[in-house]
């Protein structure tokens, strides 16, 4: 089941990134993710790569936002918005499982 969280700061649902049938390449800190069964690509910047690595284990949107705040020293609201956008894109590409 795919979990979409409307407000990551309140999210308590756990999620993780799909790994079965998916291949990754990390280049210069950025990621290119390929769904081998559907030939769909997802690219991320360095922050997205951080989130994707965290999502290899189950975690919540709040934990993801906390990680961005700690790593990039950005406001909490911005981190939450970034996580929400990233999670939505993963869900849209069917790369998120819960």
């Amino acid at each position: 089941m795919v979990l979409l969280i409307s407000d990551p700061t309140l999210g308590v649902h756990v999620m993780r990134i799909k790994t079965e049938g998916v291949s990754w390449q990390e280049i210069d800190g950025e990621l290119v993710i390929l769904d081998l069964n559907r030939s769909v690509y997802l690219t991320t910047n360095a922050a997205g790569a951080e989130l994707a690595k965290l999502l290899l284990k189950e975690c919540t949107a709040e934990e993801l936002a906390n990680a961005l705040v700690a790593k990039y020293e950005i406001p909490r609201e911005q981190a939450s918005a970034d996580v929400q956008a990233f999670v939505a894109e993963l869900a849209d590409k069917k790369l998120l499982v819960g």
Partner: protein, 321 residues
């Protein structure tokens, strides 16, 4: 049967091929069956590859339950490939021009066999000069063969045209492929130095292109270290510039120009993705903005080579290569 060298393999055929002849035992034996009036209905099986553009169904590869394959190019031919991938039967549709057996074998079948043997396969042409090998990657009609031929007129040696198998990753090495370039008629008036009246080197192909031979030797063991890849971007604005792509964009670009499109087999896609990832970490990829012809400027080949090799010396994304 004659044995030919291409793409790191020895191919034996009972029909003439536009490839350098070599001795030795063949890796793959290709025989031509009688022409057929129509292509029979395909048997059920796993579709490894299927490519269509709109209503035009171009080609498909189906794996049968016994492991054998059929590679069908619609309206043109079928290749039956046995389970060991060492014996192939070609059946052309009746009415094809002489030489078509060579064209589909050198271009399409060789690419399929390279994919199935685990090599990365790029839709690219490549040349070597002064010890540097560079490739031109892109879709059909984008200028790969034209640039390769231009550089060969300026003293480069042809590595391959249209199919570039990546046979090594540490460092990135590519196998010798086709020894001649297939040019569209418009591109045939290339540059001073390319003597189109040289019957020993230039002839018409079965698909109405002009074939120009730029290499007469080659062995399956020969390979070249790839220094850079260029995506042709022809222009009429006299712009000569090599624009380097980021690693991420380079990977997406390399993956977007496969020699055979429409792969559905996850294992093949995974291998191509892994090879492309390793390649772009070591080999810079550029968009090559090149003043286009015909008529081409008299010095464009040397200018392209100078710009290309200058940028090819840029450091890779990973060190120690």
């Amino acid at each position: 049967m004659t044995v030919y060298a291409a793409y790191g393999m020895r191919l034996s055929t009972d029909f003439p091929m536009a490839l350098p002849e070599v001795g030795g035992r063949a890796d793959v034996v290709i025989t031509r069956a009688s022409d057929t009036r129509e292509q029979p209905e395909l048997q059920n099986g796993a579709i490894l590859l299927d490519y269509a553009e709109g209503d035009d169904h171009w080609y498909t590869v189906v794996r049968h339950a016994d492991g054998s394959l059929i590679f069908r190019i619609f309206g043109l031919c079928d290749f039956d490939v046995d389970v060991t991938r060492t014996r192939v039967t070609l059946r052309l549709l009746a009415g094809q021009a002489d030489g078509m057996a060579s064209i589909v074998t050198v271009g399409a079948l060789s690419a399929l066999l390279s994919y199935l043997s685990g090599h990365g396969v790029l839709h690219a042409s490549a040349v070597t000069r002064d010890g540097h090998t560079i490739g031109f990657i892109g879709r059909s009609g984008q200028g790969k063969s034209t640039l390769a031929a231009l550089l060969c007129t300026a003293g480069a040696e042809l590595v391959t045209d249209d199919v570039l198998p990546v046979v090594g990753l540490d460092p990135v090495t590519v196998a010798l492929g086709s020894s001649e370039v297939r040019l569209r008629p418009m591109a045939a008036t290339l540059a001073p130095g390319l003597d189109l009246d040289d019957a020993d080197r230039e002839r018409a192909s079965a698909d109405r292109r002009r074939l120009v031979t730029f290499r007469k030797h080659g062995s399956p063991e020969e390979c070249r270290r790839l220094r850079a890849l260029f995506i042709p971007a022809p222009n009429r604005d006299n712009r000569l510039e090599m624009q380097r792509l980021s690693g991420r964009d380079a990977l997406l670009a390399v993956m977007s120009y496969p020699r055979l499109m429409g792969w559905r087999e996850p294992a093949v896609l995974q291998r191509q993705f892994a090879v492309a990832g390793a390649l772009v970490k070591q080999v810079p990829v550029f968009v090559a903005h090149v003043p286009w012809g015909p008529p081409f400027q008299s010095d464009v080949a040397n200018a392209v080579w100078a710009a290309a090799t200058d940028r090819a010396r840029e450091p890779a994304l990973v060190s120690g290569r």
